[in-house]
């Protein structure tokens, strides 16, 4: 029989007491796990939205819109006038982007690396209704919008073809084969997209040159999406390199937009975590309390053990083993309760965000709970070890 077995057998007899002792840890761990799980769900949600956007960088004309803000608060942007980027800047943008990526990844590939998709947005009347016509580079756009699926017909190929978003097709009663007139130019609808849930559903896509010719915007684009296609790609660096070297355009890394949103989330998470830490500290005192009571209750048992040969260290060990069991139980219950709490509260905070349990938090929560329980047991264990056998029997 090992010492830990003695402890386990004793705990099996005092299950309620041990559960009670672990309660302090459970509450602390529950709060922490709930906060972390919800924060992660929020983060995943933001990243998910970004992923759906496709581009890592957006290059826009430098003065196409004005930021409306109050101090540090952004109230959105106001678009003013027609501003375009000259198409010939594409090669320079490609040079900068690919150069930075090569530098970051340490590769010397000569081919194109980043997907660079220029776009020309035009608002026009088609069959009496206003729709947004987007001129795109069919190949680059396809690489950018990996989630696009053509539900009817085929993808853009020739200059006189058009691809229509699902809702636009429905509202305007477009079918594959229909001919539509865009400000004079005529194109044939050759494909209809599956619904994507974004504003693409309302747009009509035509090849860039077709749009430029139809609307007299030769050599001009509204914006350029850049997709770096790697997680380690230095998108912020690409953005600042473009901003430094190319007057007249403004590049923004989508990550930067995300970071603003993330920053807010992080601040709130930190505040909540601080509160959770306080809860855990209070819980720790709870454990000290129950453990000290436990020492008093077991004065006789400790005396017996000492009388039959337990050393002070062994008495301390007994209490630490107990603390480990309390900690593991507390961590386990705290993880489960925290995850359940996140499932309930998460959707309320982030408006229906799907919260998923995080297995990576399981072991750390056990470890943290155990650490807290062990720290909380130092003083009670020390007191137990000081018990004198004769005193323990006299006190009965």
């Amino acid at each position: 029989m090992k010492l830990y077995q003695v402890v386990v057998k004793d705990i099996m007899r005092r299950k309620k007491r041990v559960l009670y002792a672990s309660l302090g840890v459970v509450i602390g761990i529950t709060t922490i796990i709930a906060v972390l799980t919800i924060a992660l769900a929020g983060q995943t949600n933001i990243y998910g939205q970004l992923e759906k956007y496709g581009a890592n960088l957006i290059v826009m004309p430098a003065i196409s819109d004005i930021d409306i803000g109050l101090g540090g608060l952004s109230l959105g942007t106001l678009a003013v006038g027609d501003n375009y980027i000259f198409e010939d800047k594409l090669s320079e943008i490609r040079q900068i982007s690919d150069g930075k990526i090569r530098e970051a990844l340490g590769i010397e590939d000569e081919g194109d690396i980043a997907t660079i998709a220029p776009k020309l947005y035009m608002n026009t009347k088609v069959n009496g209704t206003f729709v947004i016509v987007v001129g795109v580079d069919p190949q680059e756009e396809r690489q950018l919008k990996t989630w696009w699926k053509v539900s009817q017909g085929k993808y853009l190929e020739a200059q006189d073809e058009a691809l229509v978003g699902a809702i636009a097709a429905e509202l305007l009663r477009f079918n594959v084969g229909d001919k539509i007139t865009l400000n004079g130019g005529e194109v044939t609808i050759t494909g209809i997209l599956e619904e994507t849930g974004s504003n693409e559903d309302y747009q009509v896509f035509v090849p860039l040159e077709t749009a430029q010719q139809a609307f007299d915007k030769e050599g001009l684009v509204s914006s350029i999406d850049i997709r770096a296609l790697c997680n380690a790609c230095p998108t912020s660096e690409i953005a600042s390199a473009i901003n430094e070297n190319m007057p007249g355009v403004r590049a923004v890394a989508v990550k930067q937009i995300a970071e603003t949103e993330m920053g807010m989330l992080e601040k709130v998470s930190k505040l909540l975590l601080a509160l959770a830490a306080i809860t855990l500290a209070v819980g720790c005192f709870g454990v000290v309390n129950t453990m000290t009571t436990s020492v008093h209750e077991r004065i006789k048992d400790i005396g017996i053990m000492k009388a039959v040969g337990a050393s002070r260290n062994q008495v301390i060990k007994i209490f630490f083993y107990e603390a480990i069991i309390v900690g593991v139980a507390g961590g386990l219950l705290g993880y489960v309760a925290g995850t359940l709490l996140a499932y309930i509260i998460g959707p309320l905070i982030f408006g229906g965000v799907a919260v998923t349990y995080v297995p990576q938090y399981f072991l750390p929560s056990l470890a943290l709970a155990t650490l807290i329980a062990v720290i909380a047991s130092v003083y009670p264990a020390f007191r137990a070890s000081k018990i004198k056998v004769a005193d323990s029997f006299r006190s009965l």
């Binding site: 029989m1 003695v6 057998k9 004793d10 017996i304 053990m305 040969g309 337990a310 002070r312």
Partner: protein, 228 residues
């Protein structure tokens, strides 16, 4: 093997001062069976605790096998409890969450010898409890619990057994069985010091020491039949 010289034990201070033992000297030789008698409050249990190093003394010396043990630190006393001296208590003092067998194994666990189940079983057999090995103390009678406690005391093969009113909680018949067990252990060469207030029980010992108000007032040696 054991000698106590002029020991005194004082509890409390000032007006609350209680003298539990006053200048007591006693010798226990190998193979002795000493009964310490006296009314309650006479200091018998305190004496036993001091002999076993469970309690500190105010003055005097306790010598075990030629070594002073009254001034030893906790760790050195642990070594003594793990080999030379074992206790049997009136309240049995078994650990309620452990079975009879596990209670007997407990001293071995503390010694670091954790695979001695057979040894513990053999000792339980000696005290006639091999069939009760898997029972918890709450499922055993008083006599059976005391046998488990005796088995626990024997498992480390001690040369001195200290028993504090070992039959105090039993009926006469069970008590006699326990005392017979003590006599047998004594015949094997183990020294026994037993505290009791019952003259009949004390009669099982070879030597009787009578304590009153913290002082030895009488010593009777059955073996020789002489008063010392």
């Amino acid at each position: 093997m054991l000698e106590i010289k002029n020991i005194s034990k004082v509890y409390g201070e000032g007006t609350a001062k209680v003298v539990a033992l006053n200048n007591v000297s006693l010798r226990v030789n190998e193979g002795d069976f000493v009964a310490v008698m006296g009314p309650s409050g006479s200091g018998k249990s305190t004496l036993l605790n001091i002999i076993g190093g469970l309690d500190h003394i105010s003055s005097g010396e306790v010598i075990l096998d030629g070594e002073r043990i009254d001034n030893l630190d906790e760790n050195a006393l642990v070594d003594i409890r793990r080999g030379k001296i074992a206790y049997v208590f009136q309240q049995y003092h078994l650990i309620p969450s452990l079975t009879a067998l596990e209670n007997v194994l407990l001293p071995l666990t503390f010694c670091g010898a954790d695979k001695k189940d057979q040894k513990a079983l053999d000792i339980l057999k000696r005290v006639g409890l091999e069939k009760r090995a898997e029972h918890k103390p709450s499922q055993l009678s008083g006599g059976e619990q005391q046998r488990v406690a005796i088995a626990r005391a024997l498992v480390n093969d001690p040369s001195l057994i200290l028993a504090d009113e070992p039959t105090g909680n039993m009926d006469r018949k069970t008590g006699k069985e326990i005392l017979a067990l003590f006599e047998q252990l004594n015949k094997e060469g183990r020294s026994i010091v037993m505290v009791t207030h019952d003259p009949e029980i004390a009669g099982y010992a070879k030597e009787i020491v009578v304590l009153q108000d913290g002082q030895i007032v009488d010593k009777v040696n059955h073996a020789g039949g002489n008063k010392c």
